[in-house]
C-alpha cells in the first residue's frame, strides 16, 4: 500500500537520490583520506531544546529546495472537530481558551505588523532543486497583506473519536475543505481536536503535525492535526517562555508556539517533504524548536500589536548565508 501512494513514490525517489549522494560523498571522503567523522550524517535533526539541538541544526545545514510547491498565497481555514466543542455553530467547551487565542494569532500574521512569519518569504518555488538562496528568483512564499483566516467551522455533526488516527484526521480535513469549498496548496486546513480528545501519539510523540491529503476534487490539500495543546501542559509549551508583563497567558503558550511551528512549515513545505528541508530532513520549525536561550530563543513577539509566544524559524540568509534561527525579519539585512 505504501508503495502505491504518490508521496511514497516521491520519498523513494528522493531517498534513492540521497543514498546515491551519500555513497558519492563517502567515496569522495575516502579519496581525500578524510577522517571517519566525515561520513554522511545519519542522525535526524529535529529535536527539543538541548545543546545538541543547536549542533544538529548546524550540521543539517541550510534548507534546500526539493522541487515541490510552497504556499504563495496563504489562506487558513479552521475546523473545530466534533460536538464536544459545542452544539450548533457555537464553541462552548474550550476550558483553556484555545479557540480565541489561536484565531487571534493567525488573524494577525499579515503585513508589516508581522515580522515573525515574514522570514519565510525568502523561500520560493520554481527554482532549481537544491537551491538554498532564492535571491528573488522563482515565486516566493507569500506573506498575507491582510488577515489570512478565511473561515472557521464548528463541525458539530459528529463526535470526534476519543483517540483519532491520522486517516480519521485527514478525512475530517477533506470534509472541512468541502464545507469551505476550497483545495490546493495555498489552503491550510487546521483540524482542531477538542479538549479531552487525544489523537494517537499526542503528548508522548508529538504536539501537532502537518501533512497533505487529496481533496474531494482531486487537488492537493495541506492540513494540520492540531490537538488541544493545553491538555499537554509543559510538554507542549506551557510556560516555556517567561511572560513578564506581556499579558500572555503562560498556560496556553503552546497554542501559538506549536501552531506557529506548523504554520511556518506548511508555508515552506505544504506537501512534505517536497518543499524546503535540510539534509537530514528537518523543516524550518524543527531546526529551531524548543530553544530557551541565546540566538533564536522562543520569545514573546507582537503581531499587529498583540503579544504572542512563538518559536523562532530557520532563516537561510541569516548570518551571512550560514543560516540561523530568527524571531524577527524585515529583510535579509535586518533580522535576528
Amino acid at each position: 500500500m505504501l508503495l502505491s501512494t504518490p508521496r511514497t513514490r516521491h520519498m523513494l525517489s528522493r531517498h534513492a537520490g540521497l543514498a546515491a549522494v551519500a555513497a558519492s560523498l563517502a567515496a569522495t571522503a575516502l579519496l581525500w583520506a578524510a577522517p571517519a567523522g566525515a561520513a554522511p550524517k545519519a542522525a535526524h535533526a529535529m529535536s527539543p531544546h538541548s545543546p545538541a539541538a543547536a549542533q544538529r541544526a548546524a550540521s543539517g545545514g541550510n534548507l534546500a529546495y526539493g522541487g515541490g510547491s510552497v504556499v504563495t498565497n496563504p489562506t487558513i481555514y479552521i475546523v473545530y472537530w466534533g460536538n464536544q466543542w459545542g452544539s450548533g455553530s457555537t464553541v462552548t467547551n474550550d476550558p483553556s481558551g484555545e479557540v480565541p487565542l489561536q484565531l487571534s494569532f493567525f488573524q494577525r500574521t499579515y503585513g508589516s505588523g508581522d515580522t515573525w512569519s515574514n522570514s519565510q518569504t525568502q523561500y520560493c518555488e520554481g527554482v532549481a532543486v537544491g537551491t538554498t538562496q532564492c535571491g528573488g528568483a522563482g515565486t516566493a512564499v507569500g506573506h498575507p497583506a491582510s488577515n489570512p483566516v478565511a473561515g472557521t467551522w464548528l463541525d458539530s455533526s459528529t463526535k470526534a473519536p476519543s483517540k483519532p488516527g491520522s486517516s480519521q484526521i485527514a478525512a475530517e480535513a477533506v470534509k472541512a475543505a468541502s464545507h469551505f469549498g476550497v483545495s490546493g496548496d495555498n489552503v491550510e486546513i487546521i483540524v482542531d481536536a477538542p479538549h479531552g480528545v487525544v489523537p494517537q501519539g499526542f503528548k508522548t510523540s508529538y504536539c501537532a503535525w502537518h501533512d497533505h491529503t487529496t481533496a474531494s476534487n482531486g487537488a492537493d490539500l495541506p492540513y494540520t492535526n492540531m490537538p488541544y495543546v493545553p491538555d499537554a501542559g509543559s510538554g507542549c509549551g506551557a510556560n516555556f517562555v517567561p511572560t513578564g508583563s506581556s499579558g500572555v497567558n503562560g498556560a496556553t503558550e503552546g497554542v501559538t508556539i506549536v501552531g506557529g511551528h506548523e504554520y511556518a512549515e506548511t508555508l515552506t513545505d505544504p506537501a512534505p517533504s517536497s518543499g524546503w528541508v535540510d539534509s537530514s530532513g528537518s523543516e524550518t520549525g524543527d531546526k529551531c524548536a524548543w530553544i530557551s536561550s541565546g540566538q533564536g530563543a522562543s520569545s514573546i513577539v507582537a503581531l499587529n500589536g498583540a503579544p504572542f509566544a512563538v518559536q523562532s524559524l530557520w532563516s537561510n540568509n541569516f548570518n551571512g548565508g550560514a543560516g540561523g534561527c530568527v524571531t524577527h525579519y524585515t529583510s535579509s539585512g535586518n533580522q535576528g
Binding site: 561520513a39 523543516e283 524543527d286
Partner: protein, 148 residues
C-alpha cells in the same frame, strides 16, 4: 498489540572497515565509513508497534529493543522520551548504522514534545540495520530493523 521479542545477541554482524584502496574502498563507499550494514545470520523480526504518524509503518520508543520488520519503502518513526527534565537525560539523535539502507527522512512534519527526541526513517533497500541513541547520563538504546 505490541510484540516484544526476546533479546537476542546480535551475531554475525560484519563490520566493514573504513579503508582506502581497491575493492575495500568501493565497499566502504557504498556502505559508509564505519557503518554496519550486513548481518550474516539474520534473526527473525517482529511486527512493528502501531504507527502514530501518517504514512508510517510503525513506531518505536525506548521501550522497544528487539528486531523489527520493515518493508522496503516503509516509514519507521522513533520517539525517545527523556526520563527526567534534566538535560543529561535527553536522548541523542537516533543514528542508523546503515543510512544507505534505512535513511533519515522528513520527521519535520511534527512538533515534538519537550524532551522527546524524534526520528523518522525510510527503508530504501533490503538489509539489517541497527538504530541507536544515548543519553549523557549513560543510558543506551538500540533496536534492529530488518528491511525486506
Amino acid at each position: 498489540m505490541r510484540r516484544m521479542v526476546t533479546e537476542r545477541r546480535q551475531r554475525g554482524w560484519l563490520r566493514i572497515p573504513c579503508v582506502l584502496g581497491g575493492l575495500a574502498a568501493l565497499t566502504a563507499s557504498v556502505s559508509g565509513c564505519g557503518h554496519q550494514a550486513v548481518a550474516q545470520s539474520p534473526a527473525p523480526c517482529s511486527t512493528l508497534p502501531p504507527a502514530q504518524l501518517p504514512h508510517s509503518a510503525g513506531t518505536l520508543t525506548q521501550a522497544d529493543s528487539g528486531t523489527y520488520c520493515l518493508p522496503v519503502g516503509g516509514q519507521l518513526d522513533v520517539f525517545l522520551t527523556a526520563k527526567s527534565a534534566q538535560m543529561s537525560a535527553r536522548w541523542s539523535p537516533v543514528a542508523s548504522s546503515a543510512p544507505q539502507l534505512l535513511a533519515p527522512t522528513n520527521g519535520g512534519a511534527l512538533t515534538p514534545p519537550v524532551g522527546v527526541t524524534p526520528a523518522v526513517f525510510v527503508g530504501t533497500a533490503p538489509g539489517t540495520v541497527r538504530l541507536s541513541s544515548r543519553t549523557a547520563d549513560g543510558r543506551h538504546w538500540q533496536a534492529t530493523v530488518r528491511i525486506k
